[in-house]
Every structure is written in structure tokens, then in C-alpha cells.
């Protein structure tokens, strides 16, 4: 459904381009429809990233909106000779890192899961993920949830690849210990 809508916008877009870099270039030149296409393309991943980080739908919506507004403000700084995604996720990670909650963090609610995974299996994982320190959660989400390769996570967070790998290992070790503990109970 979402992809159909995005495809519709792409067909309507006069430039007829689908590359994020091209869309960013057009948006930078003042093409609001290109910007809209860009937002529609990334809204699900940005919102999901924000949701996993904040565990509150309204706060996640607010953060996602902030990410896109900051994207618009910073389009002039995007080097159109380079790939869009690492630059964009670096911006998103920066916005997320400095985001201040407007309301207190809620208690963890039951997550939605993929149909293949049973709730008993995924719930403890998401609960553990929600309790992870932000320093460990951010690289984990960028790599596994957003799907960025390690070098792009490193670029997004301003860290070296080995530091990112180390944080990913630490984060997974923490999750693993929590999950094993839960199983043993």
C-alpha cells in the first residue's frame, strides 16, 4: 500500500526520478514534490527508528517530523556527488541523539511483531531493547532495524567501524543475557 502510494508520487513527479540523491537534489532546488516523495519513501523507516528509540507513538511521530524538517533545512549541505543514505541517517541519528522528550517515557507496551514470530518470542526481546542504554541502542537500531551497513552506521554516529562493532557486540551480549535469564525463569 505504502509502496503503491510512493510509486504514484514518483510517477507524478515531473523529473520521474526515483534515486534519493536525485530527489534530494531536486528538493534542494525548491521542488517540494521531490521532497514529499523523499519523505514518503523514508517515513516508515524513520518512524520505526524513532518508535524503537522512544517507545511512544506520539513522541515517535514528533521525532520523525523533526528529522524530516531538519532534512529540509539541511538540504543545502548535502553533497549530491555522494550517496544520500549515510548522510541522511547521520542527520537522523544526530536529531535523535539531541531529541528531548516532551513527556515522561511510558512503560513498555506490547509490541507488534512480524507474523512469523510468536509474541512470546519477540516481546522479551523488544522489552530488553527498550531498556538498553541509548549509547548501545542507537547503533543497534541503525544497523539491524534501519539496515545500514557498519561503515554507514559508523559515519552516522561519528565513530570508527571497530567502535561500532564493539557497541553492537556489547548490545547483543546484554540482550542475550536478558533473554537467557528470562528463559531460565
Amino acid at each position: 500500500m505504502q509502496e503503491e502510494r510512493t510509486a504514484g508520487v514518483l510517477r507524478l513527479h515531473p523529473a520521474g526520478v526515483g534515486e534519493p540523491r536525485e530527489l534530494a537534489r531536486a528538493a534542494r532546488g525548491g521542488d517540494l514534490r521531490a521532497f514529499e516523495t523523499l519523505v514518503r519513501r523514508y517515513q516508515r523507516r524513520v518512524y520505526g527508528f524513532a518508535y524503537q528509540l522512544l517507545r511512544d507513538p506520539d513522541e515517535a511521530q514528533d521525532l520523525a517530523q523533526e528529522v524530516f524538517v531538519r532534512l529540509y533545512r539541511n538540504l543545502d549541505r548535502f553533497d549530491t556527488e555522494r550517496p544520500f543514505e549515510p548522510w541522511f541517517w547521520r542527520l537522523a541519528a544526530n536529531v535523535a541523539a539531541t531529541y528531548r522528550r516532551r513527556r515522561p517515557a511510558p512503560t513498555v507496551e506490547l509490541p507488534r511483531t512480524t507474523p512469523a514470530a510468536s509474541p512470546e518470542d519477540v516481546s522479551p526481546l523488544e522489552r530488553a531493547l527498550a531498556d538498553l542504554s541509548r549509547e548501545l541502542r542507537l547503533p543497534l537500531l541503525l544497523h539491524y532495524y534501519v539496515g545500514l551497513p557498519l561503515d554507514q552506521v559508523a559515519a552516522a554516529l561519528g565513530l570508527g567501524p571497530s567502535a561500532v562493532k564493539s557497541r553492537l557486540h556489547r548490545a547483543r551480549a546484554v540482550l542475550r543475557r536478558v533473554l537467557v535469564d528470562e528463559e531460565e525463569r
Binding site: 517540494l32 521532497f35 516508515r44 511521530q61 517530523q65 524538517v69 529540509y72 547483543r172 543475557r177
Partner: protein
């Protein structure tokens, strides 16, 4: 609540368990040097508790990839576009209607010439209404409209239109909660 990152390693493990468990994620990712990987595997072969940790370590990456958050609200894109459109209103466009408003306002004030002028205008309007009523019941002919009143009406109408436009710009630029 204490972040999970600060929780201690479970204490129920034997010699070599701590070292093996500390290397499980690197083992799963294939990042361990061969000798260390062999040592961890040898430990796993003889330690059921660490094998449980290893199973969990192996299952984590695909489970993390499979996490599915809720869909964003349909208001997300319109909300972003509204904020972006508002940011496109530059300071010149935002404040230039103020000049027009001031000119029109000054024109109205000049035309009315203070309270005395306003009283004259009310008098004239009442006389116009009376003449129109007389025309309506057939006592007199249709009165001629004084050109000054039409001018004032036009200027006032223009002032209202410019002010409404300016308020809409300010609402978009400074946020809907302002007005």
C-alpha cells in the same frame, strides 16, 4: 530504572564461562581469530549453560532484523509538508503586508479625521439609510451614493482582506497555536 547495559553477568557459571560468553557475539559474526574461536567452541562442547547463551546469540541478529514497529500515522507527511511550507515564507513576504496595512489604516484615519469625522460619517450613513428606506416605500427617488462613502468602504474592505492574508501567513510561519 537501571539500563540493562548495567546489569551484571549471571553468576552461575564455571571456569572459562565468562571468557567464552564475552566472545560469543564475535564468534557468531566470525570476527574471532581461529585459535580463539576453537577455544570457545571447545568450551561450548562441554558447557550446557554456555550453549544456551550461544543459541541465543545466534538467534538474535535475525530476530532484530524481524522487529516490526507500528505504521506511522497518516498525519506524518502532511505535518512535515505544512512545517516546510511555512519555513518557505521568507521575512519579506511575512512582514511586507504590514506596510500596506499601515498605509490603509492611515488613509482611513485621515478620511475620518478623528471622532468628529466619525460622527459625521455616522450621521451621513443614517441619512443614507433613511433615504433608502424612503425610496423603498415609494416616498422618494433612489438617493445618489456619496463617492466618499464608496471610497471608505473600498479601503476598509481592502484593509480587512490584507489583514486576513497577513494573519494566515503569521499562523503558518509561527505555528497554528499562536492564533
Amino acid at each position: 530504572m537501571m539500563p540493562v547495559g548495567a546489569s551484571p553477568e549471571p553468576s552461575a557459571y564455571g571456569p572459562g564461562c565468562a571468557e567464552a560468553r564475552a566472545r560469543l557475539e564475535a564468534l557468531v559474526d566470525g570476527d574471532l581469530p581461529k585459535a580463539q574461536a576453537e577455544a570457545v567452541r571447545a568450551h561450548l562442547a562441554g558447557c550446557a549453560a554456555c550453549r544456551a547463551h550461544h543459541r541465543e546469540a545466534c538467534s538474535l541478529p535475525p530476530r532484530l532484523y524481524a522487529i516490526c514497529p507500528p505504521d506511522p500515522s497518516p498525519d506524518l507527511v502532511p505535518g512535515v509538508l505544512a512545517r516546510v511550507r511555512a519555513e518557505r515564507i521568507g521575512p519579506f513576504r511575512l512582514w511586507s503586508p504590514l506596510v500596506v496595512e499601515l498605509v490603509l489604516f492611515a488613509l482611513v484615519v485621515w478620511y475620518l479625521s478623528g471622532p468628529r469625522g466619525l460622527a459625521r460619517l455616522v450621521q451621513r450613513a443614517a441619512s443614507d439609510v433613511g433615504a433608502l428606506a424612503g425610496w423603498g416605500i415609494g416616498l422618494s427617488s433612489l438617493p445618489a451614493v456619496p463617492p466618499g462613502d464608496v471610497f471608505l468602504l473600498l479601503v476598509s474592505g481592502l484593509l480587512v482582506v490584507v489583514t486576513l492574508y497577513h494573519l494566515s501567513l503569521l499562523a503558518a510561519r509561527l505555528g497554528p497555536g499562536l492564533l
